[in-house]
């Protein structure tokens, strides 16, 4: 089998102009789900690896670079960009997987709806890419993670057949089959379309910034607010030094920690929500300072203060933790890194009922990462883990992969 034959077969499937080649890697851009199935059939027949590519930022790079002995196919979904149906009664949108989040948000916003505060850095990501990665995605926790907004899904399996899960508010019809594919990075199937829940554009958005004696007090105020059922659109916590360094603060908070919050929704409700937060802040010895720093942060959140934005010392190291453990993780990781001779900055964000995230910036290296990971785990955090750790489930995932993709054509390097 020569590579030019492979190239021709792919060109027949998706149109020659939609195939390009770099060394032994073919970039293929199918225009519709049946073409995805055809590409997979060709790959199956020729035992060629297929690497799905949707989101520029989240794509897993082709293994071994583009110069490999064996040919491989990078399947780029970005020609499948149709918005299939916007249901303004049910507040759902059905779109093909290759549509960019920014374009989809723009389309629904024109009808007074929103996908819900996706940060600007995800705007170039595709819908399918975000779903396949179960990416952190949304900047806010008010509306939950992206998979909880996914009401329907279409997937092309390795054998070329399609699964269609029709949109429903909820179903008790066996395990939720969509969950096989959300987070599986294309290793079990290629997502071709999804139905997402959309929301009314908020009538009102308000801000508050509060100064607190320490980071722990800010976290306690945040915890009290969340357990009372308040759902801020977003919250951030900085210590005094990082508050100044982030450029969010006009005045030095005088050794105090900062809690920034924004609320969105019905005008009467967000006022009550802000009052509950400010009451919690006062209960733990803090003071509300007004809207300005929080508003500045929110308006510029796609910029340098974005959680996913790289810092001078490399990408941020993220640790998720339950609400009651965040303070220990924040202190523990910083202390361990300092003891190992690495300066460490950080802030806390992405708060929701189940916990929050600490975002650390330090000179990244394998050793430093290991120190941070150990300290985070010791403090009760969930540091980024590459793989599922439960042995029987790892084995089950391997077996499942074999069931669904016996020829092993779908790229699953990170998964398996």
């Amino acid at each position: 089998m020569t590579q030019s034959v492979l190239g021709r077969a792919l060109g027949d499937a998706v149109g020659a102009t939609n195939v390009s080649r770099e060394g032994s890697t073919f970039f293929v851009r199918p225009g519709a789900p049946p073409e995805v199935a055809q590409v997979l059939a060709i790959a199956r027949e020729r035992r060629v690896a297929v690497i799905p590519m949707g989101t520029g930022s989240l794509v897993s790079p082709p293994a071994g670079g583009t110069e490999r002995e064996r040919p491989q196919v990078v399947l780029d979904t970005r020609r499948m960009t149709n918005l299939l149906h916007l249901d303004e009664l049910s507040h759902t949108v059905h779109a093909q997987a290759g549509i960019e989040i920014g374009a989809l948000e723009e389309a629904v916003a024109a009808r007074g709806l929103t996908l819900g505060d996706f940060p600007a850095e995800t705007y170039r990501s595709t819908l399918g890419g975000l779903l396949a990665a179960r990416a952190p995605g949304r900047a806010t926790s008010r509306l939950g993670p992206i998979e909880s907004a996914c009401l329907g899904l279409s997937v092309v399996l390795a054998d070329g057949r399609s699964l269609h899960v029709k949109a429903a508010p909820r179903r008790a019809t066996g395990p939720d089959l969509m969950r096989l594919f959300l987070g599986s990075e294309g290793a079990l199937g290629i997502i071709t379309a999804a139905v997402l829940r959309v929301w009314r554009l908020p009538d009102s958005r308000i801000f508050t910034t509060c100064a607190l004696p320490r980071v722990e007090a800010a976290l306690e105020a945040a915890r009290r607010t969340l357990v009372r059922g308040v759902r801020p659109a977003a919250m951030r916590v900085y210590d005094a030094e990082d508050a100044v360094a982030s450029g969010l603060c006009e005045v030095d908070p005088a050794g105090q920690a900062l809690l920034l919050a924004t609320f969105s929704g019905h005008a009467d409700l967000v006022e009550v929500e802000r009052r509950v937060l400010e009451t919690s802040v006062q209960q733990v010895g803090g003071t509300p300072l007004g809207a300005a720093p929080a508003e500045r942060w929110w308006r510029g959140r796609g910029g340098p203060t974005a959680a996913n934005a790289p810092t001078k010392t490399g990408p941020r190291f993220q640790v998720a933790a339950p609400l009651g453990r965040l303070g220990a993780v924040y202190r523990g990781v910083r202390a361990s890194l300092l003891a190992a001779g690495a300066a460490c900055h950080g802030f806390l964000g992405h708060f929701h009922e189940d916990g929050g995230c600490v975002y650390f910036a330090f000179p990244r290296s394998a050793e430093a990462d290991e120190v941070a990971r150990e300290a985070a785990a010791a403090a009760g955090g969930r540091p980024p883990s590459e793989l599922e750790v439960d042995e029987p489930l790892v084995a089950a995932l391997r077996a499942l992969k074999k069931e669904l993709d016996p020829d092993g054509i779908l790229h699953g390097a990170r998964l398996l």
């Binding site: 179960r134 029709k166 949109a167 429903a168 179903r171 009314r200 029987p392």
Partner: protein, 542 residues
Amino acid sequence: VSPAAASSKDLLHAVREIVGPRASQSPADRLAYGRDLWPRSLLALQDGEGAPWPPDVIVWPESTAEVAALVRLAAHRRTPIVPFGGGSGVCGGATAVRGGIVLDMKRMDRLVSIDQQALEATFEAGINGEHLEHELSRRGLTLGHFPSSIMCSTLGGWLAARSAGQLSTRYGKIEDMALALEVVTGAGEICLAGRAPRGAPGPDWVQLFIGSEGTLGVITRATLRVRPAPEVRLLRGWEMPRVAAGCEAIRRVLQRGLRPAAVRLYDELDTLIHRTSARDRGEREHAKSGAVELFKMPDAREPSELERRVRGARGFFLRLALAHPGGLNEAIRRLVPRFSGGCLLILGFEGDRELATMEAEVAARELSRTGGRDLGEEPGLRWFEHRYKISFQQSPVFENGAFVDTMEVAATWDRVLDVYRAVRAAVSRHALVMAHFSHAYPEGCSIYFTFISVGRDRAEAERRYDTIWRSGMAATLAAGGVLSHHHGIGMSKQRYLPEELGGVGMELLGALKRVLDPAGVLNPGKLGLDGVARSNREATAR
């Protein structure tokens, strides 16, 4: 001694090596575990047939290690093994249809740990729902999961069947509450499925075990999100002019971003029966579903001779009427609007005092705008007081020789009224049918149909029962709804499942089954898995 009896004795001996005396083959136990609350099997019970599916042995494990050993034994012997909690399921899901071992999980009922700061609690799966909630409420907490079966169902059953409680709109359904599960797979391996960290690759196993109805693993423990008990609970009744206006009001409230705890809209007939029965009882009594009220006497004391005759006459006329449900439904359709004051909507908010009060206020404005009339707190409080009754009210219907069942489907708002009308039209030729709308979401809601009918004899009743389900499910699917919102599939709906999930969906289910239960011993004969599991074993053999 017959070979079957010898093998059954041998099975008892083998399980006793694992659990000691906590195993039984007594006729009474085999009878008690020979069915769940699937109404079709209650028809058989009514006819004097005790247990359609008596297991060979019932076992009461006390630890995950014992469960694992029992599942390994079952896999080794190729003996079916069926996890069993409260037995309150209404789809035949917890029945040993191929015999074998019933694994009663109710002795695994401990609170393992609770973290008041992180608001997480870990329980063994066999704990009774009401006991679980009690453990939490003693500490000022709540799970927020209140199915009407709460007093006769278990945590493991909730998870396995994908349960939803009456306050799900605020607290979420069981899948939203589960943070981690301990599960024994069909190979007898113990796994710990946790919530995957964001960005880490792989499917979310917690979400794949939830809803697996005992076919992929035995859930032995769960870590749950718990919440502070609410400061206030604000319940109100509203009168909506029609079902459509009521649905519209619910949609607006949810799409406003409000999170009511309770949302229930009763259709005209359900509302009328509610009202009549409430009046009968001097406003003291009130049932969750009005349907069964038709069969009840004014109070629970021993009836007098006169009352017995009244009850007999009422039963007679009802049976007569139910034998011709088409005419009955038509009469009701014409008459109800004359007597009825529209549709009753119960809306409740709870949680933080200030927040819940404001939510209720904003909701009230939406309801007034959609033509709602405020009926005050009374209807809401009455509903709350009697919210679990449905699970204990079916007997009077069956005692009158009739049958009752419920069909809970779901759809997005663009389809909700179509599904409602289509199912009503399909079922009303065979049964008296009424409905309420609950478990609301911004994108849709569930429709909970109650139907009552009767047959001249058991054979006719079963035929009619099957016809009702067949036509109701077909109408649901044709109108764009889903088969089940929260009762699950079990045995009763499995024949409709392929149309819901599609052939590829069924095969994915089969792939999960082969991976997690290679010996095929976990709860066989359910979830439509027999066909797909077998077809693929054949494929593998080929």
